[in-house]
Amino acid sequence: MAAEPAGHLESLEPLASGAPLLRVQDLRVRFATGDGLVQAVAGVDLRLARGETLGLVGESGSGKSVLSLALLGLVPQGQVTGQIWFRGEELLAMSPARLRRLRGDRIAMIFQDPMTALNPYLRIGTQITEVLRLHQGLGRRAARERAIELLRDAGIAAPERRIDQYPHQFSGGMRQRALIAQGLACGPELLIADEPTSALDVTIQAQILDLIRLRTRSLGTAVILITHDLGVVAGACDTLAVMYAGRIVERGPTGPVFQAPRHPYTQGLIRSVPRLDRPGAERLVAIPGQPPSGIGLPPCCPFHPRCAQVLPICRQALPPEVDLGGGHGVACWLYPEPR
């Protein structure tokens, strides 16, 4: 990405206690494709508290990555509607210059594939000092010293030497560490991590998740962790939101949702994963059918063709989200709205 001068961000007011760091209302993202209009995100509401780690779960095509890119204003080719408030400021109404100042400083993102997220022509150090110089106005030497510190905090041994190497000289796990160092360089209030460990081996995944947890906790950074792996959510997230066909179908604190999932899709997902601590399972309970493509979604529950508990109304109308108490919400006609 071309580095235009972002300029310094004037010191932001401390967030009022209780106010959400991020609030999203009726966010929709559509793409025009050769096959028709694709609704990648079809009306998402979201609240994220300061320091909260939210797991955003869903299968490919569920809209979780597009949602996170929309939060950063990074879907120029799509039609984005709705509201996104970050610290009370409307992101979608913001000037591009203002948005650039926030991105990389207050909101940072790390991606699944650290090789494509890093510029192969630039030294690792340059890619971190760039952020520090742009957003914090550090001089060359101060930025370098800070970058070495950041690499060390990200668990890279001999950072004084590593800082002058190129991405191809780093292993996959090291690249993800460098990307985390870069993302957290300005101590962001929100980190969006899109499948940050899916390209990594399990032993490295454990290291990287541990690192993200430690670093964001010490900085008080809120995290949106996008993953398809329910195990990662169970171990790393305070809350989770399950996406299906561009919508959040269930959300809530991690413990209660895993203990008593309400949406048939969430139930199916949890049952369909083989578990290491449950040997001798005779048969997995698979969810029949295929996830929808997002083209021409009917105005009814998108899960109904795959649902074993389908009701007549599921084929007619979109279920509203119902509050089950304790922050646990579900969008399913099995749970009628209390009068």
């Binding site: 490919s60 949890i270 083989p274 290491l276």
Partner: protein, 349 residues
Amino acid sequence: MNELSERDPKGKRGDRNALPAPDPPLLEVAGLCLHYPQGGGQAPVRAVDGLELRIGPGETLGLVGESGCGKSSAARAIAQLVRPTAGQVRFQGRELTGLAGRALIAARQGMQMVFQDPYAALDPRMTAGELIAEPLHIYRNRGLLTLSRTGLAERVAELMEQVGLPRALRDRYPHQFSGGQRQRIGIARALAPRPELLLCDEPVSALDVSIQAQILNLFKDLQQAFGLAYLFIAHDLAVVQYVASRVAVMYLGRLAETAAAADLYRDPLHPYTRALLSAVPIPDPQVERRRQRILLSGEPPSPDQLLAGCPFHSRCAQRLEVCARHTPRLREAAPGHQVACFLYHPPEG
């Protein structure tokens, strides 16, 4: 099928019933090495370095390990898709390594592969029906299979049914199928020559969770229906536990440990296996909170920079002095449970 249908007579060696691998094995791999030469006078990359495996009829051997450990190279060397640098691959009683041309195709008819990415493995210009018929044509054209035109069409329809694809989809192209359906086409292709063994290389790791379960169940159903044996290569240890009767753990081209699945998951011996199992996340927050992780330091060394000694010693928290000097051999630590680690058997006896 003619010469292929002959099998070794079942040797009865009842005294070996403590071993989980039944005799005679369907596949026996010994001392398998696959070294990729590098330019510039550099040492070759030892992707597979002395691998020993046995798979009995109808058995599933799970081969696990992280990226770069050589598990895919091992499958390719077993199938002779790349020629191994050294070692033996005995399948249905016949040695494959010296064979070529029609003799190899004939000897390999009973061993077929299922690949990770069904999109890359399927020719985008062929319909599902043509893709599934292709292996039948290959064997028929070489006189290894007799099938009439109608017989071929019937066989394609039968295969589609066996893998759960509606016959009506036979004229569609790969891009018109979802990932799970494409993998079903890949499996139908592999089943076409009526194999006894499928080499499955990460067959579900490109699939979504809900679809993964469908395909895993399909593998189980096919095994029951046809008595298939699987070499099931995967990095996901929970998936392997679900499908495998025995498991072999690979690290940098060698086996670190092998045992019956139940034993390996209950009582892992090798420090690497232990770390690997402890790193797998479990989709249950209560379980996750109680778990103790063994965090490995560092990453596996590159297979072209193998140091002396145990390949795992640079990351091992329990390493002994000897581990940096000698390479441990795979040896029995408990009945049917083999481990290559000096913690269980000191060097020289």
